[in-house]
Symmetry: C4
Subunit: 212 residues, 4 copies
């Protein structure tokens, strides 16, 4: 199978996951101190921001990976569906984190673990896709194949950081959420050009792989 329509499904799921996050931004009802009540919701804004940036970065990285994919099979489709399941579920732990981050230690701890565990699974499922392509180079544009082990490592490391966030949550939920935010910030500001390199080498080797 060609990757064109799979990319359309992926882009659709990402666009919707990014946009559904806003539905969980709390809308105070019947407030008589609206300014105060809005400011009081700052954990929700932070959670929204971190999840949006994380999903956006993951889209960029996944975009880079997919740009080198030349054909797909059923097994790769299924791994991609697992990945999309974990991307599309992100608004749920985000809403719970936004709601419980400032409701006392024991609730915040659960929310922090749930959030980091979702991100861990999402990162691992992304790495699972990288690995499948690394071990099935026939699906990948020839000049880009050499970059796939580095891409796999980057995804594994990016995912495993959330193990630290889970461990830290037992001691300090705030520190755990800070790790989540730092991961998003690190990848956002990262000068790594792994995705770009893959894209360029894929382009140099054959026709437009951008699915457009």
């Amino acid at each position: 199978m060609g990757p064109g329509r799979l990319q359309a499904l992926i882009d659709g799921v990402f666009a919707i996951a990014l946009t559904l996050l806003v539905l969980d931004l709390p809308r105070p009802e019947g407030s008589t101190h609206l300014g105060h009540d809005l400011l009081h919701q700052w954990p929700a804004y932070l959670a929204y921001l971190v999840s949006f940036v994380t999903i956006g970065i993951i889209w960029i990285e996944h975009h880079g990976m997919m740009s080198a994919v030349r054909s797909i099979n059923r097994r790769f489709l299924e791994r991609t569906l697992v990945f999309l399941l974990l991307v599309s579920v992100i608004p749920w732990p985000t809403a719970i984190a936004a709601d419980y981050a400032d409701r006392g230690f024991s609730q915040a701890r659960v929310a922090a673990i749930l959030y980091a565990a979702t991100m861990l699974l999402m990162g691992l499922s992304f790495a699972w896709g990288w690995r499948y392509l690394t071990t099935h180079p026939e699906l990948v544009a020839e000049p880009a194949r050499v970059a796939f082990p580095a891409g796999t490592r980057r995804a594994v490391v990016g995912g495993l950081v959330y193990l630290a966030a889970i461990a830290v949550a037992a001691v300090s939920p705030a520190a755990s959420f800070s790790i989540d935010a730092l991961v998003a910030g690190y990848f956002a500001l990262s000068r790594s050009e792994v995705p770009g390199l893959i894209y360029q080498s894929a382009q140099s080797g054959d026709a437009d792989g951008d699915g457009s």
Copy 2:
């Protein structure tokens, strides 16, 4: 008509149906035992998972079918809309199944019947599309036509299994939901390459039919 924009609509509806499921994952409000309350919601997670996998698999299978379609007419468009209606409605029985699966036998039975009946109708509407293409081979790439009777059978059988789920619900809602999960698991792990075969034969016969 060419199939390009129909595929865009189909991919959009699938992406949204997959992603809207998350809106019905329950967010406990004002919980003071968040970990316990989240674990208590396990039927919702199972329902989410089964529906996500089912919609994802159906997308893969439908993708295979559409890859061989070379032109469409108004009658096929209408059958596709019926199919999309039944795909897009899935979050509704999923939410009801999640909510009532553990609320006593008589409510769980109704929820199990509603869920399986939706899936039955969805499967039959999918088979209806297969059958239309089998009986209108002029819409299909020549080398793929031979595979369409097998595709139709696969869709009919996949749909009719839900009749068993409906019948079993009268005795055991849990067993009925298990059948739903088994169907999703079977198709997810199935090594059947009917969609892939259709895709490949379609590709071998003429230009890119991937709508991209």
Copy 3:
């Protein structure tokens, strides 16, 4: 401008409008007679069905129109946005119709008028787009231009039927909703090939106009 990305936006809005309808299907909470309570919600299912079919048919007809468009300008973009506004708002009168259709004459009358008025405006904005293309034939593929007056008439007539639905609502909301359903059914079963003819003549005259 070329029509490609406008079609992507249009398809996205239609796919989402079709799929958001399901969010307003009522989910009974804490029901102890789930079967009875679900059956009791039949007006919601009917409203869902009629709105889904109407949006789907409009997508088919609009697809036909757009298949002949070869370039677009800012004025046509703006008319299309007005049309998309009225398409995307449909879930709102649908939810109100579903809720109030069986809550007594005076509420049902308001709901029926609101529903038909939305459809009237949507239909007129569609006709407005047809008319703009009829009077700006330079935007349309040459062989398809001759069919645009017929397309405009079809859209105007399809829209104006809702005037009757508004008038009838004053006497019988049920009759008014029946007209809405009949319009959807008529267009769904209509053998008119105006959209198809436009598509075919557009194809015969020049390259692929399907935006894919």
Copy 4:
């Protein structure tokens, strides 16, 4: 990287942001004076209309800008994600504006500031993208480069008007909302052909840049 899939993500986010607005149109529950209650919600309709038109216009303008983009890099992707974040968040201040515009001066003032501040940030992030392309002409089709300073100015000015809306909100929330509406109306009716000019010059210089 090529711009094709980025445009797919952008179009998806815009389509969803446009369509999610409808979820916040209030649905009166258990009303016994439905007509009166619906009319009473007029601030929600106005807020819906202004936000829809604003998002639609921004899509048209952004479409014009992107039509001249020939390649993208990670830095431009990140700026685009910031822009998409601010577009996708618009339903939230819209819902708060709809809810609080007629709930007394002090709440309306907060709602007006929140709405205008969101639009200000959205406009500035749009200008930030224009500016990046102005200073990185290698990403832009050669004949369109000359128009980018004008595009940047247009976006900056369009954004900074919301500073006036914020200032005016301290005195009159109604006047502040009127400025928001006037901006939308001005750009909707504007005869400026900056986006069109960019598109045309981009087309004249090389192959189809419409991402289709």
